[in-house]
Symmetry: C2
Subunit: 207 residues, 2 copies
């Protein structure tokens, strides 16, 4: 397989226009699209080919309400940790699209999977969580290419979410994802745009 | 920005033909290509837009030899933990391309960066490491689109690597990456191909 300059350009356009979306339209996402997205996660790299990510698609209104309440609680605590102007700035930010997004996914990591037979994670157990993060990023890019948006909600207490979903022993909460059609597209991170944190450049220091 | 079905297909080809490469040719990678790869990491998502990844490009032969020795030590320990046939299988695997790959990158995560002002990581500090994993995955895909290969070496003791590089306080080792032209391309993970761990499918359980 040989890739061309056009392929590089396409990848860069997808990477550059991927955003952490918090502003969703409520229109449903076709099931055929969701099936393509699900299958794409299989392409993510994983330590020992263990594929330790586990995904729950959340439809139950009670579970969604539980997540929403947990976000509200954690977000209020996070706001309280800032002072003065920074707190006002924080409270002006929209940090989750939980109310409008039609698709919700709770993502977990199996911390000692049989798959992979332990390969590659003996000294760095963290590689399992890295695998799940890369699977989420794979889904993120695939979602963008489908003209959908994905938002990652991290203002949640992981132990509270694990309890809410009564997950099997050995699973660990990784992320809660909202998916749907975005209200707008942008090639600039919202936190840069609103002045919370300007973009910084990646440097490669040579030694 | 609207993406087309052709864009989806291109992304899927890049995702499907990305491999954890351990078989490299020794030809150098043009500096202009490396500069494109470095810049692409800026497109990765990060919690609070903090971009907590730090990259050291490793050219010093003494540092490379130190990493090589650490890999040899950790790989021998890993092999010793298997018994009988599984140990023979393990020893037959080639798990790093450290000797041939022309480009080596050591990647770290800043665990309490000023950037982002703590946003989004109060309840889940793990989001910083997830950001670094997604930046590595961004680089991985960009590398593939350039017809290069990337291999992630995780059979290393993180504390030993941190000591070897005498990194600043607050940095944590995330991964060691080899980059170069691959000896062959494949759309199937090597560990599936050789029978160590067959591919498993991602399922989305609905609740």
């Amino acid at each position: 397989m040989q890739f061309t300059f056009t392929d590089i350009t396409t990848l860069n356009r997808i990477l550059r226009w991927r955003r952490d979306v918090r502003h969703f339209r409520t229109d449903p996402v076709p099931e055929t699209t969701l099936e393509r997205l699900r299958a794409t996660m299989d392409c993510a790299p994983s330590v020992g080919n263990a594929r330790p990510w586990r995904v729950i698609r959340v439809e139950d209104p009670a579970l969604r309400a539980g997540v929403r309440a947990e976000f509200t609680r954690c977000n209020a605590e996070a706001a309280a940790a800032y002072t003065d102007e920074k707190r006002d700035d924080y409270l002006r930010l929209k940090l989750a699209g939980l109310d409008a997004a039609p698709v919700h996914l709770a993502v977990f990591t199996v911390c000692d999977p049989a798959e992979g037979h332990g390969l590659g994670r003996r000294t760095l157990p963290e590689t399992l969580r890295q695998s799940t993060a890369m699977a989420i990023h794979t889904l993120w890019l695939a979602t963008r290419a489908e003209n959908l948006g994905l938002g990652m909600v991290s203002i949640l207490d992981p132990r509270a979410i694990e309890q809410l979903f009564t997950i099997p022993e050995g699973w660990e909460f990784s992320a809660y994802l909202c998916i749907g059609y975005p209200e707008f597209t942008d090639d600039t991170p919202l936190l840069d745009r609103v002045g919370w944190q300007k973009n910084t450049a990646t440097t490669w220091e040579t030694r």
